[in-house]
């Protein structure tokens, strides 16, 4: 069970959180995208063995969504920050 550092509440047990998904930016105007580009956004995800940027929701806590940089092999969390801040694109 991971210890996830919520940017608002500090480190808490994983059971308090809900995993969202990969931290992707939603296209500002989906209609400007081709079918291919839109379905890439909808369905295609990297599945890296290593660093992954993802979103978690502190359901049993402050109800904030935030971004976590986690190594999928070691589970080492190198950063956690509110959405919109220092995000990788």
């Amino acid at each position: 069970m991971m210890l996830i550092p919520c940017p608002w509440c500090g480190p808490r047990d994983e059971t308090e959180f809900v995993y969202g998904e990969a931290a992707l930016e939603r296209p500002a105007d989906p209609h400007a995208l081709s079918d291919q580009e839109w379905t890439d956004y909808l369905y295609f995800r990297d599945n890296p063995k290593g660093e992954h940027t993802e979103r978690w929701f502190h359901r049993a806590g402050c109800h904030h969504w935030f971004t976590v940089e986690r190594n999928t092999v070691t589970h080492v969390i190198s950063a956690a920050y509110p959405p919109g801040k220092a995000e990788k694109s």
């Binding site: 069970m1 991971m2 210890l3 809900v18 969202g20 939603r26 105007d29 989906p30 209609h31 995208l33 079918d35 839109w38 379905t39 909808l42 369905y43 979103r55 929701f57 359901r59 109800h63 904030h64 969504w65 070691t74 589970h75 959405p83 919109g84």
Partner: protein, 996 residues
């Protein structure tokens, strides 16, 4: 008077001879002493045959002395407290303990299943796969017989009477193992002030020091361990947990422990849990987990009376037991010479010391000088005897165990074997540590490079007591220093123990043709099985494990895995490290599901949400179903009526007079802020910014992939204030979804969303008499159609309680949802019921509600199953043009506009026919025919309104199929019905009734 025939006259520091303890084994009454394990008490009474093996039903005895034991696994306890697969070597004796052997029929001594073993080569590895799984039907027939033949203990059938708990803890340093190394580490780190948890699986600290005579600082190992315990107990920063195992190592420094508080008692003491599951976050850890002695394989090496040498020594040292009268000792290392002297001194006849090494070590020379019968360069080739050893075949062997000379038989009733040690690297491996292979020990040890935690003592291959103590102190000091504590190393004690010397590896001695040499005792895997797996190309150790089941027992191959993979390596002609190990997974030793579950049983494990009127429902015949964790009444049992008759009455009440239903479970969200209307426009397919204050609108939401996510009515309470309702199912996820959009996607929108589902109690009254009923309930509210039209709302007192009244309809009749503070819910419910008497009011449940909505063609998640678009449901018009919303982009993707999609339709059954649940729609009235499924049903009900069975469903090109006569078939249930495809709006399609 004592029948403890194998107990020595004196000695055994682990037992209290003044406290006899009586117990039973297979209904024989026996006696042991306080401090005994079941294994030592059985041995004390000369009982060796304790079980039958998993596959061949061979007689088995006690091999070891600790948690590594593969053979001696028993039922302990009776009735609800019967625990199967309990290791006799771990289970402590208590007064009137009831033990029984497993996996034999009809009796332990005479087991018909042993015929399987006599049938010899019939049951090699992979036998079940090759022989039985030829066709599913044949397998079903064989399986029940195989299940009875092969297997372990039987679980109890009654509920567990004990309770269990979880505990969370934090510490600076977790030390796994309370032997010399762990004690030294704890003393060093504890003295420096570190917060330490020391974990030991046995009831007493000391580890191997308790199992062979050793000297530390001039005291016996046992006395030194007791002194260390006293010192640790005096440190407030150190917690010592005995009878506790480290079960698993997980990410982020999490360790799970299982503490057995009541297993050594007939039943746990009052208010005490039987077992406690710990989750410990430790900044650092030291694994002082020791090493496990390994056997050497030879023919019939599983016979009762073949034991590990260290166990034989341990039973003498700790329990005062001679595990035989005449012994042949067989080893590849010097520990056998110290053992021989101890056993001989205690009165055992040591028939021979069989030393596999071709040279004469110093210890061997000394033994020879003392006239002990030493045979160097020899091996035990076979054990003689069936239910008990009565001899050992001994022959000269070469370094690989091949016979070099003539075999002779030595009489003995005990063969004690030591093939060296396997470091218990399990926890290191679980922490993602790599392994290094030590050729001199023929063993895997923790690779320090990149290790997350420190391993110390025998687990690193340090089998010498002084070295263990030294490593323990060093590890404890280093851990304290790393924590920034001022640590000065305590004085290292001087220690003397036995030496192991050079121990050239020997995995197996060449066996006579046709004989069985066991590698994995618990799963009956032989050296031949390993060879067979290799011949059949299962060369990876993971495949070897699964094909032969090597290491898959409850002991997880603690005494067998390394031997198995060494044999595979030899077959492949590769060094052992090239073959590698199988993955070490938690738990280190088995523990109960109950410990894992802890207190999370019953309603604590699966909590039930109850509405404010729950007690009324329960007291008035409500038959409950689970809906997203809520207990909802399906219908109200009524004397003299079948459930269907009662549901029909409830439906007809709504259609003809008025019904009331508790709809508090619907999700409710309070949405406020200057941008609330804009926000709703972006999440609903239709527009809410144009909604007038005091009015509501039905809305549909999509997932980003264009499929219908949820629907419900949202009321506008003020310009910047909305009350959203969601389906019961999505009452939780909707909040998370909306928060995601507000926090991540559109952080510029000024909107607050507050979940208020539990804050409101909601009752829906519906039916032709609903308006008159509401008028009685709310005399101060104008309930006329003009003042309170469809999708209108009003605020005022209802049954004297401040309420919000929303006029909307799920049933298709005039209907009002009355919302009050949940604390007043029961009062409102009772108020409605009293006023309803004059209006022919009936309560109804989810079954009637479902029937009413099917009659109206309203979809639920049964229809919108995650693959369905608004257009599929006939709601394409609800996707407003000229604005975007979540998921809208997807609606123009090729597959979502392609012809031939499944569309929502209704099915009406022929007179008197009943549409099966989950039916497929087909053209031929034939349950057995292979034919195209044209569609399927999603919800079905008997419509008392129409007098027919009806269903909603999804059908390819369904809107063009109205009028077709087809068949609803369920080959699974063997049921069918003739149906006609119709509009899903069975009842009042124009909707005039609900607007009236």
């Amino acid at each position: 008077m004592s029948r403890q025939v194998w107990r020595t006259e004196a000695g055994g520091h682990g037992i209290d001879r003044k406290q006899p303890v009586s117990f039973s084994f297979n209904q024989f009454r026996l006696e042991g002493y306080a401090g005994d394990t079941v294994a030592s008490a059985l041995l004390a009474n000369g009982v060796r045959l304790v079980g039958r093996s998993f596959k061949y039903h061979r007689p088995r005895g006690i091999l070891g002395i600790g948690s590594e034991e593969p053979n001696a696994i028993l039922h302990i306890g009776e009735g609800a407290r019967r625990e199967p697969n309990t290791r006799a070597t771990v289970q402590e004796l208590y007064q009137d303990l009831v033990a029984s052997s497993q996996n034999h029929w009809p009796s332990l001594k005479f087991d018909l299943g042993a015929a399987v073993g006599l049938a010899g080569a019939l049951f090699p590895a992979g036998f079940y796969y090759k022989t039985f799984i030829t066709s599913p039907k044949r397998w079903l027939w064989y399986e029940k017989h195989i299940r009875r033949m092969a297997g372990l203990g039987e679980p109890p059938t009654e509920a567990d009477p004990d309770h269990y708990e979880h505990r969370n803890a934090h510490c600076d340093l977790l030390i796994a193992g309370g032997g010399p190394t762990g004690l030294a580490a704890a003393l060093a780190a504890g003295a420096a002030g570190a917060k330490v948890i020391l974990v030991e699986e046995n009831p007493a600290l000391g580890g191997q020091m308790l199992l062979a005579p050793q000297q530390v600082d001039g005291m016996s190992g046992q006395d030194w361990a007791e002194q260390a315990r006293a010192q640790l107990d005096a440190m407030p920063n150190v917690q010592v947990l005995t009878r506790t195992s480290v079960a698993g190592v997980y990410e982020h420094d999490l360790f799970t422990l299982v503490e057995r508080l009541g297993d050594h008692l007939a039943e746990p003491e009052a208010h005490q849990p039987r077992q406690r599951f710990w989750r410990v976050r430790a900044s650092d850890a030291i694994f002082a987990t020791g090493a496990i002695e390994r056997p050497i394989a030879f023919a019939n090496n599983d016979r009762p009376g073949v034991m590990l040498l260290s166990a034989v020594r341990g039973y003498l040292e700790r329990y005062g037991i001679l595990a035989g009268k005449t012994a042949v000792l067989f080893a590849n290392n010097d520990s056998v010479y110290a053992a021989a002297r101890e056993l001989a001194a205690a009165g055992m006849r040591v028939e021979a010391i069989v030393d596999s090494r071709p040279f004469v070590s110093e210890a061997a020379a000394l033994a020879k000088a003392d006239k002990l019968h030493v045979l160097t360069g020899h091996g035990v080739t076979a054990a003689r005897g069936m239910r008990e050893v009565h001899g050992a075949d001994v022959a000269p062997i070469d370094a690989n165990g091949r016979l070099k000379g003539v075999t002779k038989t030595l009489p003995c009733d005990l063969i004690a074997v030591s093939g060296g040690w396997n470091p218990a690297v399990h926890l290191h491996a679980q922490s993602r540590g790599r392994m290094a292979f030590r050729d001199d020990l023929a063993a895997f040890v923790p690779d320090t490079d990149g290790a997350a935690y420190t391993s110390a003592g025998a687990v690193t291959g340090a089998y010498d007591l002084a070295e263990c103590l030294q490593q323990g102190f060093a590890a404890g000091n280093a851990a304290a220093k790393a924590l920034g504590l001022d640590s000065t190393a305590p004085t290292l004690p001087t220690a003397t123990g036995d030496t192991v010397g050079e121990a050239p590896v020997l995995w197996a001695v060449q066996a006579p043709k046709g004989a069985r040499c066991f590698v994995d005792f618990q799963n009956d895997v032989t050296t031949k099985d390993v060879g067979l797996a290799h011949r059949e190309n299962y060369v990876s150790v993971e495949h070897l494990k699964r094909y032969t089941t090597l290491g898959m027992g409850t002991d997880q191959g603690k005494t067998s895995n390394v031997a198995g993979l060494a044999m595979m390596a030899a077959k492949r002609g590769q060094p052992i490290p090239a073959v590698g190990t199988t993955t070490f997974r938690p738990p280190y030793t088995p523990f109960t599901f109950n410990a894992m579950v802890g207190g999370h049983t019953g309603e604590i494990g699966n909590s039930v949400r109850r509405t404010a009127a729950h007690d009324w429902h329960a007291a008035n015949g409500g038959v409950f179903t689970d809906a997203a964790g809520w207990a909802r009444p399906m219908y109200y049992e009524t004397e003299g009526l079948t459930p269907q008759q009662r549901i029909d009455e409830e439906v007809l009440a709504v259609r003809k007079s008025v019904g009331v239903v508790d709809v508090s479970t619907l999700g409710k969200l309070d949405i406020q802020g200057p941008d609330a209307a804009e926000f709703l426009d972006r999440v609903y397919t239709n527009r809410f910014s144009t909604l007038k204050v005091g009015r509501g609108r039905y809305g549909v939401m999509l997932r980003e992939d264009g499929r219908v996510y949820d629907d419900g009515v949202t009321m506008r309470l003020a310009d910047d204030h909305f009350h959203m309702t969601t389906t019961t199912n999505h009452s939780g996820s909707m909040f998370q979804h909306l928060e995601y959009l507000l926090q991540v996607v559109w952080p510029d929108l000024r909107v607050f969303v507050t979940p208020v589902t539990e804050q409101w109690f909601t009752a829906a009254i519906s039916g032709p008499n609903a308006r008159a009923l509401l008028a009685d309930l709310a005399p101060a509210v104008d309930v006329s159609n003009e003042a309170l039209p469809m999708m209108g709302m009003a605020e005022g007192l209802v049954a004297g309680i401040p309420a919000r009244i929303f006029r909307l309809s799920f049933s298709g009749e005039i209907a009002y949802e009355i919302n009050v503070d949940a604390d007043y819910g029961l009062a409102l419910w009772n108020g409605i019921l009293s006023a309803g008497a004059a209006h022919d009011l009936k309560v109804y449940g989810t079954e009637a509600m479902g029937t009413l909505r099917i009659e109206k063609g309203h979809f639920t998640h049964a229809e919108a199953d995650g693959r369905i678009t608004p257009d599929d449901l006939g709601l394409g018009g609800m996707v407003t043009k000229g604005k975007d919303c979540i998921g809208k982009r997807s609606l123009s993707l090729p597959d979502l506009v392609a012809p031939g999609r499944k569309q929502l339709v209704g099915f009406i059954a022929a007179e008197g026919e009943r549409i099966p649940v989950g039916a497929q729609i087909a053209a031929l009235d034939d349950l057995d025919a292979v034919q195209e499924a044209l569609g399927h049903t999603t919800s079905q009900a008997y419509s008392a309104t129409l007098g027919r069975h009806i269903a909603l469903g999804l059908m390819k090109d369904g809107r063009n199929m109205h009028g077709r006569k087809l068949y609803a078939l369920s080959p699974v249930l063997g049921e069918r019905a003739a149906v006609e495809v119709v509009s899903p709006h069975f009842y009042d399609p124009e909707g005039g009734r609900q607007r009236g």
